[in-house]
Point group: C2
Chain length 301, copies 2
């Protein structure tokens, strides 16, 4: 049997995460059609051989699989279900993989709407940050039916290292909510730790170094802790998006009758960061809210 | 020049952490004198060749270096400064290394009292848990003067992998406070994440698996997360001790004019766990407090 031809992929959303992911698909030999609202985002993809489309609808008519990775629930609803959306162009049997981070409830609704047109959907949000996207080392958390998951395996393997089928539609988004709340709380924890050290004459950089060798070790302490100590908040992952994700977390918690007090506290800090006009900074800048509240500055310069 | 003889070490405190640490010192060829309040703790050490002493004082009179690793501030004060304590037996120029987790303020006081007898002190609390102690893979955070730190380097290398001199007397304890607050908050974060998953029909074990591949990854998610999902709370590190450590954290914060709201919340959960009579469980059992508050059980069995 001849090796199966690579599926034609349409890619919508070429931001910090989407751009390197789309480039990895091209490098792996996938024929790629792209759509982005900001035309400037297209340039590096077109240079690499992708074909630009004027709308999600026209893109969907060219391909077998559509990948979306855009900012928020309304964006996903518009590019998939809007009048010029994917659903208006896609053939039956095609597959939509939404890698955005959005509401699990909206995900189930979108999956149902696509199902009426015999279009399968997976929610497949990611973790690993810009570097993980560049290195094709993302963690991918997948919700949807097993058959669709298996169909998408080769694509996921091109984008990430750890790919887990969590369960039904929306459960990838639930896993992503878990991811985002853990990161927000770990950011808060690391910030409080650095402040305690600084305030008591211990060097936060040395504290970070020794903690990385023990049970307090985390990727956040390593990556975001370094950013906090350097005061380098070039994103990375924007605080405004993390804040949006935490709203989704707390909505899901509330809708399922669950109180998450520690998440709520961290979400308030992230919200304060955005309210201060710093939504475009990396979410590691949460530490600056803690610095302000405590009247303590971590860096001496 | 002939290789310098190994210093004679006295070891006080043979609990979950102290016992394997003392055994590692014997394995490395250190002549070891031991003292423990509970005589039953001594047996494995005596079998390995250690010499039992009837008091900290008599122990100190036999050795060059005394290591203490006991439960709380009053215990350290008693074994070092009490009437039958180390200070009553130790020679000038000897070194006391306290590896317990206690108040940084008390540490500075004890160091000053020993200094009056020309006895040097290091605070050198550890992280890494029982397994880290067994594997000689502890993280060791050291406060005290550089000369004493250098003298103790060979001993630390026998007990741990990552050894960092943080700064002056007490700063090892400050680093340990940072460690304990980060772990407590990460325990809370992982617990809230698992509950959100469970409540929304996503398998917490799969969520743990996928999160370990991304930026939410931590040693707590790996080690304590596994304990939480198995319901295996055999210590490890007792909740009562973690609760005591968090009291020290909050005292240090308060004494230095710092509010740590997220730490305070996690400390309340740990305190509730102990108040429910579960202080002897591993501190990963904090998740059971969150389960109770939310009326949600993580395990189906």
């Amino acid at each position: 049997m001849a090796p199966r031809e690579k599926e034609r992929i349409g890619f919508i959303g070429l931001g910090i995460m989407g751009r390197p992911m789309a480039l990895n698909l091209i490098s792996a030999g996938y024929p790629l059609w792209v759509y982005a609202r900001r035309r400037a985002s297209l340039a590096p993809l077109l240079e690499a051989g992708a074909v630009a489309c004027p709308s999600p609808k026209s893109l969907a008519s060219e391909v077998d699989v559509v990948i979306t990775i855009v900012s928020d629930t309304p964006d996903v609803e518009q590019v998939i279900l809007g009048p010029d959306g994917v659903v208006a162009g896609a053939q039956p049997q095609s597959l939509v993989i939404d890698m955005s981070t959005i509401s699990p409830v909206a995900t189930r609704r979108i999956a149902a709407a696509l199902g009426e047109h015999d279009i399968e959907m997976l929610d497949a949000p990611v973790s690993g940050g810009e570097q993980g996207a560049i290195d094709a080392a993302l963690s991918i958390m997948v919700g949807g039916n097993v058959h669709a998951f298996e169909r998408a395996q080769a694509i996921f393997a091109t984008l990430g290292k750890r790919v887990v089928h969590i369960g039904d539609h929306g459960s990838g988004q639930i896993a992503k909510s878990c991811n985002q709340l853990v990161i927000a709380q770990t950011l808060t924890a690391v910030g409080e730790a650095f402040l305690l050290a600084k305030r008591n004459g211990a060097d936060p950089a040395k504290v970070r170094e020794v903690l990385l060798g023990g049970l307090a070790a985390s990727r956040v302490l390593e990556v975001h802790g370094q950013r906090a100590l350097r005061g380098d908040f070039h994103p990375g992952f924007k605080a405004s998006l993390h804040s949006k994700d935490l709203r989704i977390v707390l909505e899901s918690a509330s809708a399922s009758g669950l109180a998450l007090p520690a998440t709520a506290l961290a979400a308030q800090y992230m919200s304060a960061l955005v309210a201060e006009g710093h939504g475009d900074l990396d979410s590691a800048a949460l530490v600056s809210v803690l610095e302000k509240l405590s009247g303590t500055v971590l860096r001496d310069d």
